[in-house]
């Protein structure tokens, strides 16, 4: 592997460029017009412009992206997260043209994207799954829901990442939303299949970072707790997941590895679980076949460069380490600093940054593409920066993060900085892990 095309933007594009530098690889950023002068584009060896701002005309144009790779002599594409990173069609296309797609086999990407099929395979691999199943009619949904007990979630098979999920607290609500859910699924995901799943009322979102090489070796690099969420979007993540007993942790990691192995996974991925906070039972939720936003949490605790590992695995290198060689050092917390107006329903707040300053602290890492003078365009998500605080224990990581947030100075756009600080300072959060409904109930 010599030259990598990065059809992405923002902090993750910069992150991948840096990993390429580490490995002595050349990088080409394929950017949209508004991103052509971004930090990633400037830092890369070369930039090509895919199209105008809207993602549908740039970052989602798999033909233009493959063309850009071929035209610049790239032999690999690292898709980052979001955009086409989980598109089996894109991965297939790249591979058909002899370009290495940095990610798992196309069949695994297809499976991961079909939440229903992934559920089925996970169960076959021995992982616990929540009561539920596919429903093709309102009557079937009603029958199944009665069986597993309300409340239930109605999910789109083609959804994922928190999208395509609706809640039904009783039979009347279920009947009301089923038709709507199907129509939405067809439009949003091109797949109108739905399934019903038991809703765990007090749930924690716990996920396991897995890595597999192309020789079949699979390891679990540790777990993360991402329960601080708003409308299924993660806000704060931490690792290791607080309060997990040794036995529970071992079973969780084993289940993740078993799922990855069963579907022939390669490269890095994340197996997500729902953990019932009351019973401590865990259930497979979905598998994400790309690098995640919160990967720095695992990097802090294991001391490993996960993006570099992705590139190395894609180039055919073996993992180079065994499960027992993976260490877990201290505790790390990550906060997503977003350009959004918390007082106006979290409306995205694009604009020009007149001031953008983040502190330097021992144990603090900041991944960002922002700088004073930069413009945050309106076309994409509102993530400005990730702050990751690593301490000897959870309390010191939280203290470091609070100190860092205090010193963050952003002018020109609204941010969620004070919300992040409010969460970290909240007695519930300080005490230990919270549940996924907590942020909405206790803070917002």
């Amino acid at each position: 592997m010599k030259r990598v095309l990065i059809p992405n933007r923002g902090e993750i594009a910069l992150r991948i460029v840096r990993a390429c530098e580490q490995l002595g690889l050349e990088s080409v950023v394929a950017a949209s017009e508004p991103d052509r002068d971004g930090l990633a584009a400037r830092r890369a060896d070369r930039v090509v412009v895919l199209g105008p701002g809207p993602a549908s005309e740039s970052y989602l144009r798999d033909d233009a992206i493959v063309q850009a790779a071929l035209g610049t002599g790239c032999d690999a594409i690292h898709p980052g997260y979001g955009f086409l990173s989980e598109s089996p069609r894109f991965a297939r296309r790249a591979r058909e043209h002899g370009i290495t797609f940095v990610g798992p086999p196309t069949s695994a990407i297809e499976l991961a994207g079909d939440k229903l099929a992934a559920r089925f395979e996970a169960e076959r691999a021995g992982a616990p799954v929540l009561g539920g199943g596919e429903v093709t009619s309102a009557a079937e949904a009603s029958r199944l829901a009665r069986e597993i007990g309300y409340p239930v979630l109605v999910k789109a098979a083609g959804g994922g990442g928190g999208r395509g999920i609706r809640q039904a607290r009783d039979a009347a609500e279920l009947e009301a939303i089923i038709g709507l859910a199907r129509g939405e699924a067809a439009t949003s995901f091109g797949d109108d299949r739905l399934y019903v799943e038991r809703l765990v009322p007090r749930a924690r979102h716990v996920e396991v970072q897995v890595a597999a090489d192309e020789g079949g070796a699979v390891v679990a690099l540790g777990d993360r707790d991402c329960s601080v969420q708003r409308r299924f979007q993660k806000l704060i993540e931490e690792g290791p997941a607080p309060g997990l007993g040794t036995d529970l942790r071992a079973r969780l990691l084993d289940a993740a590895v078993a799922v990855a192995r069963a579907i022939g996974y390669a490269n890095l991925g994340t197996v997500e679980f729902v953990l019932d906070a009351d019973t401590e039972q865990f259930f497979f939720l979905e598998i994400n076949c790309r690098i995640q936003v919160e990967h720095p949490v695992t990097e802090a605790v294991t001391g490993r460069d996960l993006v570099a590992l992705q590139l190395q695995i894609a180039d055919g290198a073996p993992l180079g380490f065994t499960q027992s060689e993976i260490k877990s050092d201290g505790h790390a917390v990550e906060c997503r600093l977003n350009a959004e107006d918390v007082t106006k329903g979290f409306m995205p707040s694009p604009g020009k940054l007149s001031i953008f300053a983040v502190p330097e602290r021992r144990g603090l890492r900041v991944d960002t593409h922002c700088f004073a003078g930069a413009t945050i365009p309106p076309y994409y998500d509102s993530l400005m920066a990730k702050l990751i605080a690593h301490g000897d224990d959870r309390a010191s990581a939280i203290a470091l993060m609070l100190d860092a947030l205090e010193a963050v100075d952003v002018e020109g756009v609204e941010t969620n900085r004070t919300l992040l600080a409010a969460v970290l300072g909240h007695p519930d959060f300080r005490k230990g892990a919270v549940t996924t409904d907590w942020l909405g109930a206790a803070v917002l």
């Binding site: 394929a30 017009e33 090509v48 412009v49 105008p52 033909d63 233009a64 063309q67 296309r93």
Partner: protein, 141 residues
């Protein structure tokens, strides 16, 4: 030393964004002279005509309309290899005149001029990869 069209465009952009008024590069077999419009040049007294010509072409350049590429892809001057190019320098075009093809993954996309006028410059080479937004032609309205 060979410079591609991309390189020249990049040099012009760098000069544009700097305080430099004049750049003169001479190597064996290659000479490049760029003058910012309106700037006093260091040309010796015996070459006023050259300076005036440079200044006037800069002025003319400002009046030209660019035809930007609507997508990233490969620029082709004709419908198929060996066929007559859609336009040459000097051709008169209307907004809906097909001026070239941009190919993306074997999909051929015709590009219309979008403006009326006379083609003064062809900015890309046949078979060259162009970015979204890159100038393909300059047209004098």
């Amino acid at each position: 030393m060979g410079l591609s069209h991309d390189d020249v465009t990049e040099i012009l952009r760098i000069i544009d964004e700097s305080d430099v008024d004049e750049l003169r590069v001479e190597t064996e077999g290659f000479k490049l002279h760029v003058v910012r419009r309106g700037a006093a040049t260091s040309a010796p007294a015996g070459e006023p005509a050259a300076t005036a010509a440079t200044a006037s072409s800069d002025t003319a350049r400002d009046d030209l309309l660019a035809v930007p590429s609507p997508m990233l892809g490969t620029f082709y001057r004709a419908e198929s290899p060996g066929a007559t190019p859609f336009v040459e320098v000097g051709a008169e075009v209307e907004p809906d005149t097909t001026v070239c093809i941009i190919e993306v993954m074997k999909m051929m996309n015709s590009v219309a001029a979008g403006v009326s006028g006379r083609v003064v410059e062809i900015c890309a080479r046949n078979g060259e990869r162009v970015d979204y937004g890159a100038p393909l032609f300059r047209v004098a309205p």
